[in-house]
Symmetry: C2
Subunit: 273 residues, 2 copies
């Protein structure tokens, strides 16, 4: 990892830092805004932090549902570091904003979780669609919600995740409309990225996966699907947050939506082809 040599030294100018390290340091220093467009080229991840007692069931849940929950990093118990994602990474401070959950409710949205960290916590970092969107854009495809500067539309589906322990619920999907030839290209491109949701899970026919009204997403913002376009649906990293909420756990921590962990991995490193 080229960023290794660039890890902050006392007195080091932040201009010398790799963009991903600089983004994490900005978070440590109070940056609390969306990470969309931050440190282009670097993998961003969804965060889920759970007590050890629940972590093994959650790990199994992710294993059973790799399309919505592709794990790209995991901490040791009680250890806030995940060196594979960034040698200096501290999961307690390096995201812009967190959500602290108690009994299925968000009770706090702090900018660090130093006060909440415990020796029994395990942190999971889960792949996010920003990575495959970069690949789609690089191949010349247009992504509607990016063009319109809104959040991607997301929907709860009737596709049941495989349950594990208290974790169960429907898959959440994100939707991007494409002309048919681009939809085919998008299947090919995203197939290369199994670590960040991979190929679509559905296309066309929203009703077939339980979406009653494509104009009314359950999360994010609606975007138009033109008459000559096909809605293409990918498994979404909101799924684990949704099942954590539904499980009404005594305690959990996640990232705040859109305010992700920036890692030192490059998106292009995740391509299997």
């Amino acid at each position: 990892m080229t960023s290794l040599a660039r890890t902050e030294r006392p007195g080091q100018d932040t201009a010398d830092l790799s963009p991903s390290v600089a983004a994490r340091h900005a978070c440590r220093n109070g940056m609390a805004s969306s990470t969309a467009g931050v440190a282009n080229g670097f993998v961003q991840g969804n965060l889920a932090i759970l007590p050890e007692k629940l972590a093994s069931a959650f790990h199994r849940f992710c294993q059973l549902n790799p399309k919505p929950c592709p794990i790209i990093g995991i901490s040791d118990v009680g250890d806030p570091r995940i060196p594979a994602l960034g040698i200096d990474l501290d999961i307690r401070t390096d995201l812009p904003r967190y959500r602290v959950w108690r009994d299925g409710e968000v009770v706090e949205e702090p900018t660090d979780i130093m006060a909440h960290w415990r020796d029994d916590l395990v942190a999971f970092v889960i792949g996010c669609s920003f990575s495959f969107e970069e690949a789609l854009l690089a191949e010349g495809l247009s992504i509607r919600h990016i063009e319109r500067k809104v959040r991607v539309p997301m929907y709860r589906t009737n596709i049941a995740c495989s349950p594990a322990g208290p974790f169960a619920g429907p898959m959440v999907v994100s939707m991007r409309p494409f002309k048919p030839a681009d939809a085919i290209r998008a299947v090919q491109i995203t197939t290369r990225f199994p670590a960040v949701h991979g190929a679509p899970v559905h296309l066309g026919h929203p009703h077939a996966i339980g979406i009653a009204d494509i104009d009314k997403p359950d999360y994010g913002d609606p975007v138009p699907v033109e008459a000559d376009e096909i809605p293409v649906f990918w498994a979404c990293g909101v799924t684990p947050q949704s099942v954590i909420q539904a499980a009404k756990l005594p305690f959990a921590i996640t990232h705040a939506p859109g305010l992700m962990l920036v890692t030192d991995l490059m998106n292009k490193q995740l391509a299997v082809l």
Copy 2:
């Protein structure tokens, strides 16, 4: 090629022959029926034979339009052999039935073309969808026209091929309906087979590629597309035959539809992944 050692010797029992060699020998001995289901696992090809004067333009046409016209074999000028497709292969006798074209009309449908062969002819063998259909079936997908024991429905589209010399015209596509998740899988599977049409060129919205009525194919037989299915369209090897017909060449030879050349290549050898 394992079939090399199995090439016919005088007095050899045909039971010893590889299925592909046996199929070609059956053609030499008068077999004149469809090659669908013959020599499973072996690549079958469309045939186009043209005088040398026109062959270079046709070769360029195929190069410019690799999805409908993927060349898998080509003969030397005046040479009826294509050793790369079968060491003993004789293109003049080894197909069940041929079409002899004069000025854009079929004038004869002989079971061999010994009487028509000339020293200036070049034979092109072009990949066919039988190969990727085998891969789709092997992965557990159902193919509607095979289930129904009819020919695949094919349509002339408004997608113009890139012209070369006298060769020009619309792409012909074949259509297979799938449920959305299977359509995505079919894109992935057929992407592995660029030598036999590769990934689909279109899905959904037949009108967008100039298909007025999905129930009225221009070639082959109609099959139903159910409400929860997506029609998926692949570039079709009927395209070169269609442009040869439209070019009203003084002389050309093709295979008769569905009565293909059986080669010694294995379908699985064509997978690039």
